[in-house]
């Protein structure tokens, strides 16, 4: 078992494009860690740099207590499940799982035995003799996992582990992965572009964009206290409302309306400062009678999400999304008030996009 420490890690491609740009990250021993970001943000490059499949341009990488910056992939003690699983089509399930042991010169009987045991642990009984082509997507994934954990690696890397499964199977596999990781206690890093997946699985999440780290934190932290507007907009199934606003007389002018400053930010802003006011749709109430702090608004679009309803309202010249319980569903054109939950509102600097407070 081992933690991973990357210091000022840079991966530069010929032509000067940086896939990973000065990343500092410390992944703790036994942690389930997610690399999250839109496609092309460098998360897979970072994962492959940890694996040793990409040569690191500068910076250092330590796994456990060994500096592996320039080490061959085979000696790093890492195992990886590829997005397409990379199961060898010419070997049966048993030989696939046992392949890493074959490289380590374990005797055939012994490695078949280990493979069978690992396979049992991943509910692959009776499939040992099958070829990968004869398995379902979920089974293939479990074989790939079995092959990866068969050597008891220090670090397990997963590249988009759920993306090749259909939607129904994905939930099941998510639970399965979480259980497996908990049982093995192996340091696990996985890459995903799906924020819901990262929130559901990971102990901590690193959000990346254009090769740079945006934030590292627990799911709760990145959801509730995003470092900047990018993270705020990327995390959450309904993106956060981010509205341009201005500080006026210790209050916030958002379009025609004024709201209180988020608690704790009063001393950090100056009069007339341009800021961005953020509030998640889930933390805004829609009411039909005026109350303190309410802003008048008109419903323009109603989207049914099943147990709740997402409405888009016009408040003056601003638009906001509001999540409403199903039994309070308004109709387009209805007039009413919106009430933001003050303690959940956030303030960002309009220029740097960083969170204030």
């Amino acid at each position: 078992m081992a933690g991973i420490t990357a210091t000022q890690l840079v991966k530069e491609y010929p032509g000067g494009v940086r896939g990973v740009d000065e990343v500092d990250v410390e992944i703790r021993d036994g942690e389930f860690f997610a690399l999250l970001g839109p496609s092309g943000c460098g998360k897979t490059t970072l994962l492959r740099s940890i694996a040793g499949l990409e040569a690191i341009t500068s910076g250092s990488l330590v796994i456990g207590d060994r500096d592996v910056t320039n080490a061959e992939p085979g000696v790093r003690g890492v195992a990886m499940v590829f997005q397409d699983y990379a199961l060898f089509p010419h070997m049966d399930v048993g030989d696939n799982i046992a392949y890493p042991l074959r490289i380590k010169r374990v005797k055939r009987d012994e490695r078949r035995g280990t493979a069978a045991k690992v396979a049992d642990g991943l509910s692959l009984q009776g499939l040992i003799e099958r070829r990968p082509g004869q398995l379902s997507g979920g089974q293939q994934q479990r074989v790939a996992l079995a092959r990866a954990v068969a050597t008891r690696p220090d670090v397990l890397l997963l590249d988009e582990p759920l993306s090749n499964l259909d939607a129904r199977l994905r939930l099941e596999a998510r639970t399965f992965l979480k259980e497996l990781q908990r049982d093995l206690g192996v340091t696990t890093v996985f890459v995903t572009h799906d924020q819901a997946e990262a929130l559901a699985l990971a102990d901590r999440i690193a959000v990346m964009r254009a090769g740079k780290l945006q934030q590292i934190g627990t799911p709760r932290e990145v959801f509730q206290r995003p470092n900047n507007t990018f993270v705020a907009g990327f995390i959450g199934s309904n993106p956060m409302n981010l509205l341009p606003a201005q500080v006026r007389e210790s209050r916030l002018a958002v379009g025609d309306a004024t709201v209180s400053l988020p608690p704790g930010t009063e001393q950090l802003v100056r009069e007339g400062q341009d800021v961005v006011w953020g509030i998640r749709p889930e933390y805004v109430r829609w009411v039909t009678a005026e109350e303190a702090g309410a802003i008048p608004a008109e419903v323009s679009v109603v989207e049914n999400l099943g147990a709740s309803v997402l409405i888009v309202v016009n408040a003056g010249d601003r638009k906001l999304q509001v999540a409403v319980p199903e039994d309070q569903e308004p109709a387009p054109g209805d007039r009413g008030w919106i009430v933001p939950q003050l303690s959940k509102t956030l303030l960002f600097d309009a220029e740097t996009t960083e969170r204030i407070g």
Binding site: G19, G40, A55, P244, K319
Partner: protein
């Protein structure tokens, strides 16, 4: 997203497309070079070098036997003047032109297209039989094919004379050029047939049906719908067939260039000059002319292929 939502600040970097390391097996440049080298050396010595060597050889009086075999002398362009002033060379070139046009460009292409056209809508054993026969003619070794034609056209007991009741007609002596042209059509049509078969099956049926619905005749459908659709294939076919027919040596096995050089196409002429004739220098000079003609045809093909890829 709503209209007034803050867009990310300026200076947003468009994320680089994910690129993957090429050297996935950890081969390294040096080892890769080692992998490539043996193949390149063989190609270099036995394919590239002969082509270059031809230039030098063509400017010597190199012979297979005698004094010039031991110490060939540089004679400059003498071989070229000799070749270009020799009526036998021009005769050979003329015969080659007739051979390529009649057997390759016209014969193989038209019959290949005709066969592809006539089997396109039938299935079952008739199609299998016709395609099988044509392809078999292409697959069997050249020396077998040429013997089969010697038997077919034999003066006394050949099948053709038996069928036509023309016993004693010496086809290979009286009509040698026609004979090797037909022979080459027989051998080579399979390629055109296969190429056009796959081309025809790629013509969208809806286009043909549209033409039918406005009352186009079979000929009009061919002209207005099918030919425009398979234009690229026709060009590819023509250039490849030209190159191959120009370079074939197989007619030698039927007529050996005879009688009296009447079927001495360029490939046979080079062979006769250089190897039995022993004039390697002169043979090389003519070879270089042949290589240059090949180059022109091949470059034409490359241009067509590139043009099509761009489209």
């Amino acid at each position: 997203m709503t209209s007034s939502t803050v867009t990310p600040p300026a200076g947003r970097v468009t994320a680089p497309r994910r690129r993957r390391a090429d050297d996935v097996a950890g081969l390294g440049k040096a080892r890769a070079g080692l992998f490539v080298a043996p193949a390149l050396i063989i190609i270099g010595i036995f394919l590239l070098f002969p082509a270059v060597w031809t230039v030098w050889l063509g400017m010597t009086d190199y012979r297979l036997t005698g004094l010039q075999a031991a110490s060939p002398e540089f004679v400059g362009l003498e071989n070229y003047t000799e070749a270009l002033t020799d009526p036998a060379f021009w005769n050979s070139l003329w015969l080659t032109l007739i051979f390529v046009v009649a057997s390759g460009i016209v014969g193989q292409t038209l019959i290949g297209f005709g066969l592809a056209w006539s089997v396109r809508n039938i299935t079952g054993w008739v199609k299998a039989l016709i395609e099988g026969l044509v392809l078999a003619a292409w697959v069997i070794p050249a020396s077998v094919a040429s013997f089969l034609w010697l038997a077919l056209l034999d003066r006394r007991t050949g099948t053709v004379n038996a069928l036509l009741g023309t016993e004693g007609a010496a086809w290979l002596i009286d009509h040698p050029m026609e004979a090797i042209i037909l022979f080459n059509i027989w051998v080579g049509t399979a390629f055109s047939m296969q190429l056009f078969s796959s081309a025809l099956s790629a013509v969208p049926p809806s286009q043909i049906e549209s033409a039918k619905m406005v009352g186009a005749s079979g000929w009009q459908q061919l002209r207005d719908v099918i030919v425009p659709n398979i234009k690229g294939h026709i060009l590819t076919n023509t250039l490849l067939i030209t190159l191959w027919t120009f370079n074939t040596f197989t007619p030698y096995l039927v007529t050996a260039g005879g009688p009296n050089g009447k079927t001495e196409i360029l490939s046979v002429y080079i062979y006769e000059t250089a190897i039995p004739g022993g004039q390697l220098g002169l043979g090389a000079a003519i070879s270089l002319i042949m290589l240059l003609i090949n180059l022109v045809i091949a470059l034409g093909y490359v241009r067509v292929a590139q043009g099509r890829r761009k489209r």
